[in-house]
């Protein structure tokens, strides 16, 4: 069954220019020969060829096809990647053609599973593929790529070597009754180092959720202060990439924005006007305050052309203690007295004067957003771990801590240290997939989309 040639759509169904169908297995070449019409006939691996998909001499679609010959391919088998127009009917027709030529639809994650079992990638790398695809930020993506390149695997493998070295010394001590043990202080220090790195990875992994979902920023201020303009500015600014996630309530508009490769969820809250007694509006205002409370940071906008009022003060109360940027907008039409009053009122705060309309000083907003992410971009750790890995790493770290502690105690029991080493090595094997509970293995691969 696992001998079959598999095929699937590798790009998401939907409105897009191109659809990519991937075929992997021993019948790949014959399939291509049967359904692709081109001249010259011979196809050289890793080159893209413009051609046509034909069904009994009838042209179905234009295509670009690339061949990869085993073992130099993603799965380690012969692979063909066929790009066609992303039209659901055409896609289905082409797939049908392929299947008729001795292939079957791939199961979810089957391509990556084949890559794994052909030893092209280990388990950590395999998981990274899925996460890479789903990664929401450039930064997260680069970290996940770090995993794919095996950086986490490298660290773990190095740790394993040290553990085995130490294990050998301990076993020798036991079997041959030797007592010189403290010579092994180097190995213990190496293991301590690995333990520290893993601790850092775990601390850092707190941020992975943030990196994936994005920091939530609320743009708050009274009605007509210019929030929507700021919002639009952020969305249109070509330093950021926009992805549309329409807001669900009429009180908020929420957009995802990428600044410096990191995602932010920016919410433009309804203008707060305490004067309005409408109960629906009041309800909306209540929700606004809640949103502000839950956010990671706030951009508080004031109006340089209007007097401070209750709403401003109320909002300021709400944002006390939060990471915030306070800006005074409309500085181009500012009233000097009002400015003075605002400054004296928020004496202890740092306040920036900007004009969105006239493009004055708007950089402060971008700097602020970038600044929020600086403590996340820890240069030391350049890989991220998922939940499965996190759990295993936590257990591993516990073993290592215990191991180092025991190795440093004089009256240590060698056979107990040996058990800790065995335990740690087992966990490492689970991490890289050399031992794994096959339910987990199945679980990992079935989460993949078909075509991956």
């Amino acid at each position: 069954m696992n001998d079959d040639t598999i095929a699937a759509l590798s790009t998401p169904l939907g409105i897009a220019g191109i659809a990519l169908i991937r075929v992997s297995g021993k019948n790949t070449l014959s399939i291509i020969n049967n359904i692709v019409e081109r001249t010259p006939k011979k196809i050289i691996p890793k080159r893209a060829y413009h051609a046509f998909i034909v069904n009994e001499s009838k042209r179905v679609d234009e295509c670009v096809v690339t061949l990869y010959k085993k073992p130099n391919s993603y799965t380690g088998e012969d692979i063909a990647e066929i790009s066609i127009h992303s039209n659901p009917f055409i896609i289905e027709e082409v797939l049908e053609l392929i299947l008729r030529n001795n292939a079957r639809r791939a199961l979810p994650g089957e391509f990556t599973y084949r890559a794994f079992k052909n030893r092209k990638i280990d388990l950590i790398q395999a998981e990274s593929v899925n996460e890479l695809i789903n990664a929401n930020s450039k930064y997260y993506a680069s970290m996940k790529f770090g995993n794919l390149e095996g950086k986490l695997s490298e660290l773990i493998k190095k740790l394993r070597v040290n553990l085995i070295k130490l294990g050998i010394k301990i076993e020798t001590m036991i079997e041959f009754e030797e007592d010189q043990f403290l010579e092994e202080i180097d190995i213990i220090n190496e293991i301590q180092k690995s333990s520290n790195i893993i601790e850092k990875i775990l601390l850092n992994s707190r941020f992975t959720e943030v990196l994936n979902k994005g920091l939530s920023i609320v743009v708050a201020g009274k009605v007509n202060v210019g929030k929507s303009s700021l919002f639009n500015l952020l969305l249109m600014e070509d330093r950021s990439i926009i992805s549309h996630t329409p807001g669900t309530t009429r009180d908020f508009i929420r957009e995802r924005v990428y600044v410096n490769g990191l995602p932010f969820e920016i919410t433009d809250v309804a203008g707060i006007d305490n004067a309005i007694k409408d109960s629906v509006e009041q309800e909306g205002i209540k929700r606004t305050y809640e949103k502000i409370k839950k956010s990671d940071a706030v951009v508080f906008m004031l109006d340089a052309s209007r007097e401070l009022d209750e709403s401003d003060l109320k909002i300021f109360e709400t944002i006390k203690g939060k990471q915030r940027l306070i800006v005074i907008n409309k500085i181009d039409i500012a009233n000097r007295n009002i400015l003075k009053k605002i400054r004296s009122n928020f004496e202890k705060e740092k306040i920036y004067e900007i004009s969105i309309k006239e493009n004055i000083n708007i950089d402060v907003v971008f700097s602020f957003l970038k600044g929020l992410t600086n403590n996340i971009k820890n240069r030391d750790i350049n890989f991220i771990v998922n939940q499965r890995q996190k759990d295993l790493l936590k257990r591993l770290e516990a073993f290592l801590r215990s191991l180092v502690k025991m190795s440093k105690t004089k009256k240590s029991n060698a056979e107990i240290i040996a058990e800790e080493i065995r335990g740690a090595i087992k966990i490492i094997a689970e991490l890289t997939g050399d031992i794994s509970n096959d339910e987990i293995l199945n679980g990992i691969f079935s989460k993949f989309c078909v075509g991956k």
Binding site: M1, N2, D3, R114, K117, N118, E171, I174, E175, F176, E177, M406, T409, K411, S412, N413, A414, E415, I416, A418, E419, R422, G423, A429, G433, D434, I435, S436, D438, L441, N442
Partner: protein
């Protein structure tokens, strides 16, 4: 029920004794009656992992332990300062007395006949054992045959350039039986082992060596032993010198090991002195022990000075060691090469997979060591009779006994060098200890009639005493470093052992405590957490065992297996995932590949 055991070495003795005690009419055949229970190598029983085996043999009712105590002249517990799991008993024995003890013991056994002759052929009919034939032409009919001929199959001795056929120095090798075994279709592997020179005690300057006295008080091996055992000798520790290194390096071409004359694969763990010099070129010295071989002779065993170099080079080596420079050799060191059968041809009962009721036990299976041999002999003997009685076989699990680990290792993974048991081979090392050997396997001894009720009851009382003590620890509290702890909790701390605990307690916790009592209690307290984790492991292993691999599974269809793993699986045809994992080279990843294949197959049905 008639059983024939071929070979009266350590394996053959246990097999013959067990079979006869379980009611079979047993004949123990030996080439040489005077060499029954011959200790061909070091004059000692036990050691790390080996002592564990002896305690298990003892708890199951075998006899090696009793012989060790009766003829022991030096008793020591190794790894005393380390944890209970790795503490091991070792005795130095009087070789002559050991042989006498065993011969006398066997001669007195009911149902057992000891017979001197050379077996030329196993009589087989329809893939079943029928009996044995001797070189003289006579035959003995038998329902089961246990082959325990040690290093005698095509044995060849090497001393430098001299070689001659022998099963042991000056004893003829067995060629007829060796040929017969090959003719029956058994695959063999050529192995080698070595033994060091023996020196005359009076020619050694003992002042130059470090005395290694026995324990005070000495602790016996066997629960059968009612007398007090005594230390009668001291062993001595010495070191080789840089000159020794020079001598060996200058003459390596004369060593058959290095000149390539010996094809056999030798043990890595019992290397000859030239092996050690070559493998550890940076070491200036290697240690060795001088062990007296008996009370009434002057032979001293030079433990650590195994060699296959020519005699005159051996003499030069001795001259280069202060204290041995005037020593006189009584026997030179030599290496022996022999046929062993590939043990994967046996099942867990040590019965051959091809021929019913034909068993193999001991060094002939590629193991090294008296204790390894004796455990196999015991298991083979018990199983031979159980099968004839139509009862369920006796197979010890890896979490039950080192005997289980040993047999499982050799029949599932095979051997590529003489197999020696180490504690690190056991995943369940913390549970397999000398102090709980009785708890683990005595039930079997009782069941098969090898252990008598009275002794069993006596030991059970001791066990109860220990368990009661542990419960008492949980109930008694003490103040320690400004906090209150139970004694149990205190004992868990690495810096506190049982003696220290009694000190802190101010009064004795256990009356007349023995070494075993202390080890047992310490182990159960200190290892508790780890043992719990390991029990989960056992359950996981049992789960794997439950996943059966259908007989006609086509391994060629399963992807994700390397060619060599595939070949091994096809060859071995494991019946479940647990057995598959035990095959050498089969990784957990391969198990996953098989498991997923089986799952997908059932899904697609």
């Amino acid at each position: 029920m008639k059983v024939v055991v071929i070979g009266a070495g350590h394996a053959g003795i246990e097999a013959a004794y067990a079979a006869s005690k379980m009611g079979a009419k047993t004949t123990l055949v030996t080439i040489h009656l005077e060499s029954i229970a011959q200790m061909s190598c070091n004059p000692s029983i036990g050691g790390i992992a080996k002592g564990h085996l002896v305690k298990e043999i003892d708890a199951m009712g075998g006899i090696m332990s009793r012989a060790a105590d009766s003829t022991g002249i030096h008793f020591k517990i190794l790894n005393r300062s380390k944890g209970p799991a790795v503490r091991a008993t070792r005795t130095q024995n009087d070789k002559v007395k050991y042989r006498d003890f065993m011969k006398n013991f066997l001669e007195k056994c009911e149902n057992l006949r000891v017979y001197q002759s050379i077996v030329s052929e196993i009589i087989i009919k329809n893939e079943k054992v029928k009996g044995v034939r001797f070189v003289e032409g006579n035959e003995i009919m038998a329902d089961a045959v246990i082959i325990a001929c040690g290093t005698f199959l095509n044995g060849k001795i090497y001393i430098g350039n001299t070689t001659y056929n022998a099963g042991r120095s000056n004893e003829p090798s067995s060629t007829h039986l060796a040929e017969n075994i090959k003719d029956l279709g058994f695959k063999t592997i050529r192995l080698k082992t070595g033994t060091p020179m023996r020196l005359h005690s009076d020619s050694i300057d003992w002042e130059k060596f470090e005395p290694q006295p026995g324990d005070d008080p000495p602790v016996p091996f066997s629960i059968f032993t009612e007398f007090k055992v005594k230390n009668r000798i001291t062993c001595y520790l010495g070191y080789t010198t840089p000159k020794v290194k020079e001598v060996i390096n200058d003459n390596l071409d004369l060593s058959p090991l290095f000149s390539g004359k010996i094809d056999g694969i030798g043990p890595r763990y019992c290397p000859s002195i030239e092996d050690k010099i070559v493998k550890f070129p940076n070491r200036e010295r290697h240690h060795f022990y001088l062990e007296p071989e008996g009370l009434n002779n002057k032979e001293i065993y030079a433990n650590g000075l195994s060699s296959s170099l020519p005699v005159h080079i051996q003499e030069e080596i001795l001259k280069s060691i202060p204290g041995l420079d005037k020593s006189v050799m009584m026997r030179p060191a030599y290496a022996i090469e022999y046929d062993a059968i590939v043990p994967t041809q046996l099942n867990h009962k040590l019965e051959s997979k091809k021929i019913d009721n034909l068993y193999f036990a001991g060094q002939v299976n590629g193991t090294s060591g008296y204790e390894e041999a004796a455990s196999q002999g015991l298991i083979a003997g018990i199983n031979a009779v159980l099968k004839l009685k139509n009862k369920d076989p006796f197979i010890l699990r890896r979490d039950e006994a080192y005997t289980g680990v040993l047999i499982d290792d050799i029949v599932t993974k095979g051997v590529d060098e003489p197999y020696r048991l180490f504690t690190s081979r056991a995943e369940f090392r913390l549970q397999l200890r000398e102090d709980n050997a009785f708890e683990r396997v005595s039930g079997y001894g009782l069941k098969f009639g090898l252990l008598n009720n009275k002794l069993f009851a006596k030991e059970m009382r001791k066990l109860k005493k220990r368990k009661d003590a542990i419960n008492k620890l949980k109930e008694t509290k003490l103040k320690f470093r400004d906090r209150t702890y139970t004694l149990y909790h205190l004992l868990k701390m690495p810096e506190i052992d049982f003696d220290k605990l009694e000190e802190l307690n101010g009064s004795k916790i256990l009356k007349d405590k023995t070494f075993t009592d202390v080890s047992y209690i310490e182990a159960n307290v200190k290892y508790e957490g780890y043992i719990k984790i390991q029990n989960d492991e056992v359950k996981r292993m049992e789960k794997l065992e439950k996943i059966k691999i259908p007989e006609h599974v086509d391994y060629l269809k399963i992807d994700g297996l390397s060619t060599e793993v595939r070949q091994k699986l096809i060859k071995n045809r494991p019946s479940n995932l647990s057995d598959a994992l035990k095959i050498s080279g089969v990784t957990p990843a391969a198990i996953n590949a098989i498991s997923i294949y089986l799952t997908l197959k059932t899904r697609s049905l």
